[in-house]
Subunit: 155 residues, 2 copies
């Protein structure tokens, strides 16, 4: 596999089934996603909101015309840090058949550079506490696990 | 002090100096904020972005006409969870003179209810790992510290 063939770009509506396939393809995702044909309309409704909002970018990694990775990059205006812009990464996935090939690292590095160009002063993300392999992955990219990520499910 | 006098509402531009005063009034905040008169323009620029975006709400707690608390509530559209809406809380502060009186708890409960009414399926936040008192505060409100919050400073 040649690294040169990987393209990172903003997802289009046509990519949505591939993105949902990636989101559904892990233990947690398989319980909470519905990768069906056609996709449930709620996915398209969310895509439209993301697509029209310049502060949200759904990113895909494409290899030889196939979507093999995704993440959601968001820019969060904030009063803190003298009105500084935050970047946040959510929903990171690489196709299981293409893992451990450095693709995730390339995708995150590309995203960090994009956040820097946009003027963000920080990139933040959360990852499950049990996933120490993932913590090391992000530490190698420069992230520091200073915070506890707390969640409250409403439904 | 009567609890009935506390009002939670969306901040106006006129509240911004009070919000910045609260953000600046702790160890970390004092290093990274500039609470000056007039406020640096970057604060107003960020406020305008937040104010025009229906997915962002800068909240203040007002007691007898004085701003004594603040937080930033944001709604994040997402493809994951079948296109489910996330709510996120950032930049939570209560005036040091009004702490330990339950005001923070009331403010978070009010915010959770607001997120629920908007249809968010989750409320998420991060807090510094060293602040175990803060972890217990959020746990009492139903939050679970399942995640590691990782940050990469770009400047």
């Amino acid at each position: 596999m040649s690294r040169k063939e990987i393209v990172f770009r903003i997802a289009t509506r046509a990519d949505l089934p591939s993105v949902v396939r990636l989101l559904a393809d892990d233990d947690l995702g398989s319980q909470r996603e519905r990768y069906e044909d056609p996709l449930p309309e709620s996915y398209y409704a969310a895509f439209e909101q993301i697509d029209i909002d310049p502060n949200h970018e759904l990113i895909v990694a494409e290899l030889n015309g196939e979507v093999i990775g995704t993440l959601h990059l968001m820019f969060l205006p904030s009063i803190s840090f003298q009105g500084g812009l935050r970047a946040q990464i959510e929903s990171v996935r690489v196709d299981t058949q293409h893992q451990s090939q450095g693709i995730g690292g390339e995708m995150i590095k590309w995203t960090i550079e994009r956040a820097r160009q946009r003027g963000a002063h920080i990139v933040q993300l959360t990852t499950h506490r049990s996933r120490q392999d993932v913590h090391r992955f992000y530490e190698r990219l420069g992230f520091v696990g200073t915070h506890l990520g707390m969640k409250l499910n409403l439904i």
